[in-house]
Subunit: 303 residues, 3 copies
Amino acid sequence: MSIKINLTKNGPSFSKIVFGTMNWGVWGADLNTNQMLSLIQKSHELGVTTFDHADIYGHYTTEGSFGKALSQNPSIRQDLQLVSKCGIQLITPNRPSTKVHSYDTSRKHIILSLENSLKELGTDYIDLLLIHRPSPLMDPNEIAEAFSRLKQDGKVLHFGVSNFTPSQFELLNSRIPLVTNQIEASILHLHPFLDGSLDLCVQKEIKPMIWSPLGGGKVFTNLEDEQIIRIREVCTKIGKKYGNYGIDQILIAWLLKHPSAMLPVLGTSKISRIESALKVMEIELSTEDWFEIWVASTGEPIP
Amino acid sequence: MSIKINLTKNGPSFSKIVFGTMNWGVWGADLNTNQMLSLIQKSHELGVTTFDHADIYGHYTTEGSFGKALSQNPSIRQDLQLVSKCGIQLITPNRPSTKVHSYDTSRKHIILSLENSLKELGTDYIDLLLIHRPSPLMDPNEIAEAFSRLKQDGKVLHFGVSNFTPSQFELLNSRIPLVTNQIEASILHLHPFLDGSLDLCVQKEIKPMIWSPLGGGKVFTNLEDEQIIRIREVCTKIGKKYGNYGIDQILIAWLLKHPSAMLPVLGTSKISRIESALKVMEIELSTEDWFEIWVASTGEPIP
Amino acid sequence: MSIKINLTKNGPSFSKIVFGTMNWGVWGADLNTNQMLSLIQKSHELGVTTFDHADIYGHYTTEGSFGKALSQNPSIRQDLQLVSKCGIQLITPNRPSTKVHSYDTSRKHIILSLENSLKELGTDYIDLLLIHRPSPLMDPNEIAEAFSRLKQDGKVLHFGVSNFTPSQFELLNSRIPLVTNQIEASILHLHPFLDGSLDLCVQKEIKPMIWSPLGGGKVFTNLEDEQIIRIREVCTKIGKKYGNYGIDQILIAWLLKHPSAMLPVLGTSKISRIESALKVMEIELSTEDWFEIWVASTGEPIP
């Protein structure tokens, strides 16, 4: 079973499950080089070849840690798809020049940030670069210029955005083709199903990448919450119906059923969670089960 | 005076007042075959030739009752425009296989539902088929395929939607031409005047059909409500000014003044209400009167 | 330094700072003819050549007062750009026929109102005519007809709107080209930065005119308000950093940094405020400073 998918007609081919690296470094598990290498290799063996980064992860250190690990086995690079993001300016001792937590989508910052990501990751190019957050100050012409320059130089193959509204997406997409919008969506975050974000992806045949696909873990910790109780109850029942699937697996299957063909970004440092998510591909959730889960979240019948 | 109107340039020609059948059957008046036939024939004589159905009305029985009545006078069919809807799955003993109140916009369901509607209505074709509710799971390509097949087979002449947001309308309309969006609008439901729904209809020259054009009757029952008191007072005054018109008539005239050229769907089983609505065509409400009614509803002056 | 800017590629060339006349007449300072003439001439000398009017200002009297002043020095007219607006019907002894505060965007009203504005302003043409408020009843075809007629007759050179949502803008712009949307925006009114209004301007390369660019003066009067305290503190600090600039100047610089290239409409009758605003052109606010001001307004860090 192929677990590859094209983000758009002429877009990059990614693994349907994307490995999010936010918690690999000092913001999370703080893996050492051998542990990271092991994670990359095991993931590669499983066919999960797309890794999601951002310049800022680990206060600008996690790309470097990943790159150091990858340099131990450089031949694997050609099989991987590396995603990074830029545009946020974090206050951290690692960037003493930044005085205000802010966004910078200037041509200069985008290029500098990407070139730094290449250096940190130890690679000549990345497959996809995203603007991390929409800035009220973003100039689409300037961003398009920066993107064109990076493409021309072979440093970035494709471009996208993250956390953009439909209106912001249309704005930048009117200047340069975007292949994805990486947004938050989960059974605990239904807005994109209703506010036009996913409509636009389906209309333009651009596949969304999904962060926090499990709602940031609340389904597994807020056990007293009535919404969570309802969701867990329904997903447990449905999990048993389809085999022996866990709540997390049913919730990923729930996302995968959407016609936008979402790519969940799993922000974990455990290979077991990747293996678990891959098993979800076997599940073909019925429409009725999908709506039962939806209603468990909203707490009210559909009209 | 013609009371016909084209939904779009090449769309179907409907009567400006549409007879809604939701309450003809077991969900409402529970008319017998003779009563229904009489209603259809009287409406036909009045020029109100468009009848609005849905597969689910009367728990999937009202189309059948209508069809049985119509079969008593089959020659009348060619003068009528029949609208139906599909996409909602209701839990009812009449559909024991449905376990979850949900939406189904699959190719298979749309075709099956429509073919059943044809059988129930006792007709070879309907003039317009609507997707009853936007489903978060709807795949516009699949809906377009189903619609194309039904059109090719001569089973449905035109297609539309109901209760779609502008974004959802654009999504499906990008795949197959839609001739209407049947939405709720009334002096008690002003959202579509402000949220872009009617803007889109006007921009695309697609005439909206309007359900609950009188706000579901609340104007005639919630007599203690301050908003209702204001509306009734203003409409009573204006009704006298234009002749001897009732509040219901002024409220329909109020809708008809909108440049989108709305088609109110009157959900009644009384021919007198249709006759009353037809008299509204004589009224040309002034712009000032229109705003006085608007302000009676909102309770605050326009900016 | 040129302070001219084109509203669109083929649009009119306006001064970057627009002089708003709303408070010149009986709604505000009630200037006499000599005082108005002096204001016009001084503004002209400063290069602030664009004057923003509306038919209704001063209960339909301020255009007349301005025209009377301008007639004392008619040769200056060719250097000025005059903007006016129509569409609101005010209740005032000056318009006894208006019984309801309402909007009128009929062909007849637009043309009559504009012709009256020409007479009052004592000019053969105006440079820009705006629909003052979006009316739920506006028919874009009818507005386009009126605009085309006025353009053909040489009475209005360009057309735009005011206070339109993106959806309303698209609707009218689909029928006739619009060169601006005059909207409210300021550090106290951030909606247009987030609701797609400014996105649309940037996407279509249509420059917005901005009313209440300083939030209607609240920054200078609500001194106990926590939001105001934060804004004043940050702007005071930044004002010192760039030179000796006041809070009002920093807040205009803050608007001018936006890539939509906003034209602030200063609703004042004091030439000193125009002089003060012109000095803002020297400031190139840094992105970090811009975000520090944004956060002072919202009271929470950006994501």
